[in-house]
């Protein structure tokens, strides 16, 4: 076995032996206390291909990815890079061996410029030992030209959109002359146009002979960008298929080990009277004159590009950032929602877009996470939490939502994304809301959990809750909504009924 440094030297000498696989992993296992995260897993990556990894959350693809990126060391098995057995000891080690990871949570330093971020640790210096900014600028510009990225190297990263930050991350990875690029759900926060640009870059990288490991939950991306797809389930390797020859149903069957017949099971339920009526709601400089009605038992889908003001309307309705003008009527009565406390009193619930930032208390346990919004009324006596009774209620909720957790005392950060989301939904269901606002309820969640959440939402509508569901996923919007409100640049551009809505009409309203 060659040490990483020897490997690096071999690579730099140019005498890299021609191997059939760019990367070859055989029989790798990895255990954590109490869990076998990977069990005898194999994975092969060819040069010049995009290889998708798919599987439900907890299937082991994140662990495999972290092994490839040098974050974890495998317990057993072999890991060959360009035909050479290799043992990575750190992410930096992986990077120096030509493996770069583009994280889901981007790891850039916001106050620094694009160029500084890319060349950090490797800044070109002049003869006095000071950083040569001019040369750094040119190097960055050249890199961007090569990748067809249109960004000024002197821009501060903090001012860039998520999509542009991702471009910077990719350019950084390429600047290390990486052969293997790992992308973890790169499109989860991008608009359609940005996704197109990203795919163009990925295709260019593929043409250069790079191997790209692409983790995704989105089926259509698979067919658009991937050459091969490997599926994992419960820490096991299930199989690899040629992306051109595989169907959606095949993949789902491999992932869940069972058939999911109905992906978006919105039941037909009687639509009742108006529970929420919004008129000319505006937040200065963000959105203006948004009006709509929401009925009992109705699911109102909200579509629009990221940045169209969808989430801001939701935040205004819940009092997170109160609206500056317009009226809100709940069950016929005008209400001034000035804070989330007021919203809660009026029977609103709000599942926020960003699970980690504004949803979960990651270091607290499942119990605390679930009960936090109902620490009032009957559950409190003389300031004391009636924990016994409340725990029973929470456990019943856990069972009803089928949250997979070792116990109620497990920290939420140890749960998979889908289960975290279920805990948060449970938090709001405990408040017995009349109106539930769901902002991207299934983002970054595996297929199984997704369909469970859809079933749950549909059931809630059946129980007479009015639901506002914001989503970037067209099939979800089309499948689940009774009516669809479309937004564009802070304005409501139209409301479509279920039977008249289709992808084209929505896109037209969302972009005109």
């Amino acid at each position: 076995m060659l040490s990483p440094t020897t490997m690096k030297a071999v690579r730099e000498s140019g005498a890299v032996p021609q191997a059939s696989w760019l990367m070859e992993i055989q029989g790798v296992s990895k255990s954590f206390p109490g869990v076998k995260a990977l069990d005898d897993v194999s994975f092969q990556l060819k040069r010049g291909t995009v290889h998708a990894l798919m599987g439900e959350n907890g299937a082991g693809k994140s662990t495999l990815m972290k092994i490839i990126a040098g974050i974890y060391t495998p317990d057993s098995g072999s890991f060959k890079l360009r035909g050479q057995e290799i043992k990575l000891v750190s992410p930096l080690d992986a990077l120096e061996n030509g493996i770069a990871m583009i994280h889901q949570e981007l790891n850039l330093m916001a106050p620094m410029t694009v160029a500084e971020n890319i060349w950090i640790r490797r800044e070109p210096v002049n003869r006095f030992g000071f950083v040569d900014h001019a040369r750094m600028y040119d190097m960055t510009a050249a890199l961007f030209r090569e990748l067809n990225i249109d960004l000024n190297p002197d821009t501060t990263v903090g001012t860039l959109s998520i999509a542009n930050r991702q471009m910077v991350e990719i350019a950084k990875a390429v600047s290390y002359e990486s052969d293997v690029l790992i992308m973890d759900e790169p499109t989860s926060a991008l608009t359609d146009k940005e996704v197109t640009h990203l795919f163009a870059i990925i295709k260019a990288l593929r043409a250069k002979g790079k191997g790209i490991v692409y983790i995704t939950h989105k089926m259509n991306e698979l067919f658009e960008i991937a050459d091969e797809v490997s599926v994992f389930r419960d820490g096991h390797y299930i199989g690899t298929r040629d992306a051109a020859a595989v169907t959606r149903e095949d993949i789902i069957r491999m992932m869940v080990g069972r058939e999911i017949t109905q992906m978006f099971p919105k039941d037909d339920v009687p639509i009742g009277e108006v529970v929420l009526s919004v008129k000319d709601l505006s937040l200065k400089g963000v959105f203006s004159n948004v009006s709509f009605d929401l009925h009992k038992g109705e699911i109102l889908g909200v579509a629009g590009l990221v940045g169209s003001g969808r989430s801001n309307v939701a935040e205004a309705l819940f009092g997170v950032i109160p609206a500056t003008s317009g009226t809100i009527h709940i069950a016929g009565q005008e209400v001034a929602i000035t804070s989330p406390q007021v919203a809660l009193q009026h029977g609103l619930g709000f599942l926020t877009e960003d699970r980690k930032e504004t949803g979960c208390f990651l270091i607290l346990d499942v119990q605390q996470n679930m009960q936090v919004a109902v620490l009032s009324g009957d559950h409190i006596r003389g300031g004391f939490v009636r924990q016994g009774a409340l725990s029973k209620v929470c456990e019943a909720m856990r069972d009803a939502l089928r949250v997979k957790t070792p116990s109620m005392q497990e920290r939420v950060e140890n749960l998979s994304g889908g289960n975290q989301q279920k805990v948060l939904i449970g938090r709001w269901l405990l408040t017995k809301p009349r109106i539930l606002i769901l902002d991207e309820p299934t983002r970054g969640i595996d297929v199984g959990a997704k369909s469970e959440i859809h079933r749950m939402v549909s059931q809630l509508a059946g129980d007479g809750v009015g639901i506002i569901m914001i989503s970037s996923e067209m099939p979800e919007i089309l499948g689940m909504s009774d009516r669809i409100l479309v937004m564009h640049e802070g304005r409501a551009t139209g409301i479509l009924n279920r039977d008249e809505a289709d992808q084209v009409k929505i896109m037209e309203l969302a972009s005109h």
């Binding site: 206390p33 406390q341 709000f350 504004t358 270091i363 725990s391 070792p406 116990s407």
Partner: protein, 340 residues
């Protein structure tokens, strides 16, 4: 945190053993240190360190005041805040309480007409002063949004200024025996332990406690969950101020006088006690018992060094190392848990 009476799902026994409360580790450190001094005592001094009632009493007495402050500081740190003003509040309340606790035997009392008052008057006055100081901290932090470090750095300076201005720097002495009783014998130790017991229950079992942890764990999520962040922070800092005020009263009673320089540096010792006791500066984690053990560790180290006749200055140097070491160990432990 809560009593769990569900038939626990399949968790391997090994994982269960790891679930010992985090305070247990700190208790082990405390006992380990005490035993270390016991051993060193027999080697170098030819006598026992622990089996000396007088020494144990002095040891706990010395840290009781720090402990009372640390109980409030722990709550502040759980909300991911910090309180630098507690030492200054000790000084201010010591002065105010002492000025209202003077005996009529003394001809130069601050308030000649307000001598020989029953002890509850200076006690209540002191607690009010402490509470006001805390309220200023909480108000600044909640409503202006400035970082707690800056807000309490400001009050740290200003409140100390108030303590000096109050009598133009003169000490206040000749206090009533009734007032001095608060600082006599092991009364301060009782006050410390009663406060600890009360706030252990409050943090673990009340809505106030749950909200405190929630705000520290994720402020945005807490807000969206309907918690009134501003009101709660005001409450937490006020409680910390009240406890510092109580500490100031005990300090004055122990010294049988009020001096404007009382409590200098206490804020850092209280923070150290909380941090050694496992309270995380990033918020959301920490328990009162941990802080109690952290306080006792400070006491054992100080009195152990004195017992071994180690130079005062050297003591301070080592103490700094212990504070940093405690946090390093804690971080390793957390990193290991995060990977597991």
């Amino acid at each position: 945190m809560s009593a769990d009476n569900t038939p626990a799902p399949a968790v391997p026994a090994k994982a269960r053993v790891r679930r010992l409360p985090p305070e247990f580790n700190i208790l082990v450190v405390l006992i380990g240190m005490a035993l270390m001094f016991e051993a060193l005592g027999w080697i170098f001094e030819g006598q026992s360190f622990l089996f000396n009632i007088l020494r144990l009493r002095i040891m706990i007495l010395q840290v009781s005041v720090i402990g009372i402050i640390a109980i409030g500081v722990t709550q502040v740190i759980i909300t991911s805040g910090i309180d630098l003003s507690s030492g200054s509040i000790v000084g201010a309340t010591a002065m105010v309480a002492a000025s209202l606790a003077q005996s009529s035997d003394y001809t130069h009392a601050i308030y000649p007409h307000l001598t020989n008052l029953p002890a509850f008057v200076p006690i209540i006055a002191g607690i009010i002063v402490g509470g006001l100081g805390g309220m200023i901290n909480g108000g600044l932090i909640a409503w202006t949004g400035i970082p707690p470090f800056i807000a309490t750095l400001g009050t740290y300076v200003s409140i100390r200024g108030f303590a000096k201005w109050y009598t133009r720097g003169n000490p206040v002495s000749f206090l009533t025996p009734q007032f001095n009783y608060i600082g006599s014998g092991i009364v301060p130790v009782f006050i410390f332990l009663i406060c600890a017991a009360i706030f252990h229950v409050v943090l673990g079992y009340t809505r106030y406690g749950k909200f405190t942890y929630a705000i520290g764990a994720n402020r945005q999520a807490a807000r969206v969950s309907g918690i009134d962040i501003k009101r709660h922070l005001l409450l937490v800092y006020t409680i910390a101020g009240l406890l510092s005020g109580l500490a100031g009263i005990v300090t004055a009673a122990r010294a049988q006088s009020g001096q404007s320089g009382m409590g200098v540096g206490y804020e850092l010792q209280a923070i150290a006690a909380a941090v050694i006791g496992g309270t995380s500066l990033t918020g959301g984690a920490g328990r009162i018992w941990g802080t109690v053990f952290g306080t006792l560790i400070l006491g054992v180290v100080t009195s152990g060094f004195t017992f071994l006749n180690i130079n005062d200055y050297l003591q301070e140097m080592v103490l700094g190392g212990i504070i940093v070491g405690a946090v390093i160990v804690d971080q390793f432990r957390q990193a290991r848990r995060a990977k597991a």
